[in-house]
């Protein structure tokens, strides 16, 4: 009772787990964000809003966070939610197992105290500007201690049928077909949620998703699942609401292996920046749903842009200049073949790679495209560094310090999605650390501007474009996408008609 309507949301595949504390899988986040909650959520302007925490204070040194928890919240199994759950979740699950948060927690030396049932105190060993932004359900979901306390978190059956505090309860998982959530009658925000149920429908073939949306079989299709060429069709459809461009910044880039003799030379890197037709990439690969590369941190965070150092100024499309630079770097035309591995599973990479191949051939560089299965790709690029250039894309998760730092900071390990270029610059490391720890935004911006000046010149990585997103929903759904992340905050969504 109370809810009305069942919304159908498209996803691409069965998620590996619904325990958001251990995965950054997109579909898992899509589903679990309706079941679980974080301490805060981020609105469209990156502002933290109360979720399980009703209020918080930050100490002046930026090292201590005190959260006041919402009272009277019940887990879906009827147990009371307390600060012990928060402490357990942050220390034992998120801090240890979350692929994004665990390294940060470790780096910051996070300690969590629960002085009373309604209060949690988090202590960091050094200040970290985006800390609150990382307390969302996606990076720090709060999980029930009474269910997880025990030996193996990763194999806990609750990962398949999670128990949370969120507006929807887990219903049924038909593998390969759908996952159904039902209304949480006990939800703390009385009256919400408005929907009776949510069905996540698995549509594995991308080409079938937009037709399903247009036919009304599906009520929401996020950008992540949408084939780019179909976007104009969506935008033209009067029955659909599209949220365009409000998104969490993400950049697509080409990383140079500066260990290789060729790209140890800055001129060669510059040559490629001049040679690659970035507007064409945007137009033909992304169907216009992107902005040509702006600089080391893209153009998604308006507060830190450094226009002086931008690519538009430094590296306009100019094959002749590129050729000259190559010659200067000592490369004879048509003598070198670059190896360019990329992740075969990502459709956009192939198109980019082919255009880049074409652009570089025009300046006398042959490129051998090497699409690899993902784990092989990780192994080749991040562990073995066996490449000349490679394509990738990193997601900022709402703050440059969370998502982009790993592109440039000195890194000697072999983990995937790190800085594989081999670029190491103490000055850059220093500035990155400032950007992450200063709490004053203006001060952070200064650090990032300086970083852009250095990085756009050194160019260990060439940012190709900033992705733009189009998240779509049927007009039958109201109040969709109030949060920065389109997957978040579905308690307020209503269904009409």
């Amino acid at each position: 009772a109370g809810g009305k309507g069942t919304a159908v949301l498209a996803i691409d595949a069965d998620p590996p787990t619904l325990n958001l504390g251990t995965t950054s899988d997109f579909a898992a986040g899509d589903i679990s964000a309706k079941i679980l909650e974080g301490l805060v959520w981020l609105d469209k302007d990156y502002n933290p809003k109360p979720a399980l925490a009703t209020a918080w204070t930050v100490s002046p040194d930026g090292k201590t966070y005190r959260f006041t928890l919402r009272r009277g919240v019940k887990w879906h199994d009827g147990r009371e939610f307390t600060s012990a759950d928060v402490r357990y979740s942050l220390m034992e699950i998120v801090g240890k197992l979350h692929p994004r948060a665990a390294p940060v927690f470790k780096n910051l030396g996070v300690e969590v105290d629960a002085p009373d049932a309604g209060t949690v105190v988090v202590r960091l060993q050094k200040p970290y500007a985006p800390f609150l932004a990382q307390m969302t359900v996606f990076d720090a979901p709060i999980l029930p201690r009474h269910i997880y306390e025990g030996p193996a978190v990763v194999t806990n059956p609750a990962n398949q049928r999670p128990v949370g505090t969120g507006p929807f309860k887990f219903g049924e998982w038909k593998r390969g077909t759908s996952i159904t959530l039902v209304r949480n009658e006990q939800y703390w925000d009385a009256g919400k949620p408005y929907l009776e149920a949510i069905i996540f429908q698995i549509i594995p073939q991308a080409a079938n998703r937009v037709p399903a949306l247009q036919a009304g079989e599906v009520d929401e299709l996020l950008d992540f699942y949408t084939p780019k060429p179909e976007v104009p069709r969506i935008l033209a459809d009067k029955k659909l609401y599209a949220r365009r461009g409000v998104n969490i910044p993400a950049v697509y880039f080409m990383m140079f292996n500066v260990r290789s003799p060729l790209f140890a030379n800055k001129d060669a890197r510059h040559a490629l920046a001049f040679a690659i037709d970035r507007p064409r990439l945007v137009k033909q690969v992304m169907n216009g749903l992107a902005r040509p590369g702006y600089g080391a941190f893209g153009d998604g965070f308006k507060w830190l842009l450094n226009e002086e150092a931008s690519y538009a100024k430094k590296y306009p499309f100019d094959p002749a200049k590129a050729k000259a630079l190559l010659a200067k770097a000592g490369v004879k035309p048509d003598t070198v073949t670059l190896r360019m591995p990329f992740d075969a599973a990502r459709a956009q990479m192939r198109g980019q790679a082919q255009i880049i191949q074409e652009n570089l051939r025009a300046i006398g560089l042959e490129v051998s495209l090497q699409p690899l299965e993902r784990s092989v790709y990780y192994d080749r690029v991040f562990a073995k560094h066996d490449f000349d250039v490679t394509l990738g894309s990193y997601f900022s998760a709402g703050d440059p310090a969370i998502g982009y730092t790993r592109l440039y900071s000195t890194y000697t390990g072999t983990s995937p999605n790190t800085n594989a270029s081999g670029y190491a610059n103490p000055k850059v490391d220093e500035l990155l650390s400032q950007g992450a720890t200063l709490s004053d935004r203006a001060a952070r911006a200064k650090a990032y501007r300086e970083l852009q000046a250095i990085l756009n010149e050194d160019l260990p990585t060439l940012v190709l474009f900033d992705e733009e997103t189009v998240d779509t929903a049927s007009l039958k759904l109201q109040n969709v996408f109030p949060a920065l992340d389109a997957r978040d905050q579905w308690a307020g969504v209503k269904m009409v008609g």
């Binding site: 069942t6 159908v8 595949a13 069965d14 590996p16 787990t17 995965t23 950054s24 899988d25 240890k96 197992l97 692929p99 994004r100 665990a102 390294p103 470790k106 193996a152 990763v154 194999t155 990962n159 398949q160 038909k174 593998r175 390969g176 077909t177 759908s178 069905i199 429908q201 698995i202 549509i203 594995p204 073939q205 080409a207 079938n208 037709p211 399903a212 036919a215 079989e217 599906v218 599973a345 299965e373 993902r374 784990s375 092989v376 790709y377 990780y378 192994d379 080749r380 997601f395 790993r406 390990g413 983990s415 995937p416 999605n417 790190t418």
Partner: protein, 321 residues
């Protein structure tokens, strides 16, 4: 007969063992680390990776892993899928029904229609009808099935809107009872057709050839000389004698249909084993891959066995051991 089956099963066991071992080694010696996929797109701390690795036994030497695996398979345990965090057997069982439904429908459709068309073509050999069936058959056999699937969706689902483009059941739930069943059948039509077409045309061709081979056999003439009607002659004698090669083709192609389901299920979003296999390949889900490959191989072996048994049963000349 029982002894024959037993002997064949005994023969099949080393074969299946070889399949398991080869697949295991094939997968084990590929570059790359499945754990890196599992943790997602952010750098995870090495301790965490190590913990995961030991959790799934991936830190042991290959031959130890193989030994463990064989031991477990012998006990009917196909391991634990790290990508789905479920026992492999329950994962497969979940999907088995859908695949059986799809492949059996496709097989049945292809066999019945294929044999009928083959018989008709053979009886009209050299006539326009035969030419038409053969031409359509050749074309059906030549169109790549993934492309065919897309064309079918484009034509019948998106263009004409007669049939759903993908899925297994209406999303908001099927109607109860009979009506729901009919609704479900709508979802079955396109994938079953796409999966069966190549097979159907193959059966048509083989049936036609086999029928031509026997239609002029002496015993057909003899049967006609005894005044037997066309139905008796065609079905009672000709088809029966043409049955062996047709049966062989049907039986020996079960494996291809199963393998083809990987493609068709992916294109049509059918929640079956084929798609599970495809997904598990891209996720490096070793245990699932291994189990499905073993299952497919075992199905092929069983299908071959059934074919032989049926062959023996149909043809008294094959000695009964």
């Amino acid at each position: 007969m029982a002894a024959f089956i037993l002997r064949r099963v005994l023969h099949a066991l080393p074969l299946l063992l070889a399949v398991v071992v080869l697949n295991f080694l094939l997968i084990a010696f590929t570059p790359g680390d499945p754990i890196t996929l599992l943790v997602g797109d952010f750098p995870a701390p090495p301790e965490y990776l190590a913990q995961m690795r030991s959790e799934y036994g991936l830190d042991q030497p290959v031959w130890v892993q193989l030994g463990h695996y064989l031991w477990k398979v012998l006990h009917g345990d196909f391991g634990y899928s790290f990508a789905a965090q479920q026992p492999v057997s329950s994962l497969i069982l979940d999907r088995l029904g859908a695949t059986l439904e799809l492949t059996l429908t496709a097989l049945l459709f292809a066999s019945v229609v294929g044999i009928a068309l083959g018989v008709i073509a053979a009886m009209r050999a050299g006539k326009p009808l035969d030419g038409g069936i053969q031409a359509l058959g050749s074309i059906g056999y030549s169109v790549p099935d993934f492309w065919l699937g897309q064309l079918l969706i484009l034509a019948f689902a998106i263009g004409l809107g007669w049939l759903p483009s993908q899925g297994y059941n209406p999303i908001r739930g099927a109607a109860p009872g009979w009506e729901g069943f009919v609704q479900h059948l709508h979802y079955l039509v396109l994938p079953a057709f796409a999966l069966s077409l190549r097979y159907l045309t193959l059966i048509t061709r083989i049936t036609r050839a086999a029928m031509l081979e026997v239609l002029h056999a002496d015993y057909i003439l003899a049967s006609r000389a005894r005044g037997a009607g066309e139905w008796t002659v065609i079905v009672g004698h000709a088809l029966r004698n043409a049955g062996a090669p047709v049966l062989t083709v049907i039986g020996y192609n079960v494996g291809f249909v199963l393998a083809g389901s990987a493609l068709v299920e992916t294109v049509f979003g059918w929640p079956g084993i084929g798609r599970l296999l495809y997904e598990s390949i891209s996720k490096r889900d070793y245990p699932v891959m291994l189990a499905i490959l073993l299952m497919v191989s075992a199905t092929v072996v069983v299908a071959n066995l059934l074919t032989d048994v049926l062959h023996r049963w149909l043809d008294p000349r094959v000695e009964r051991a």
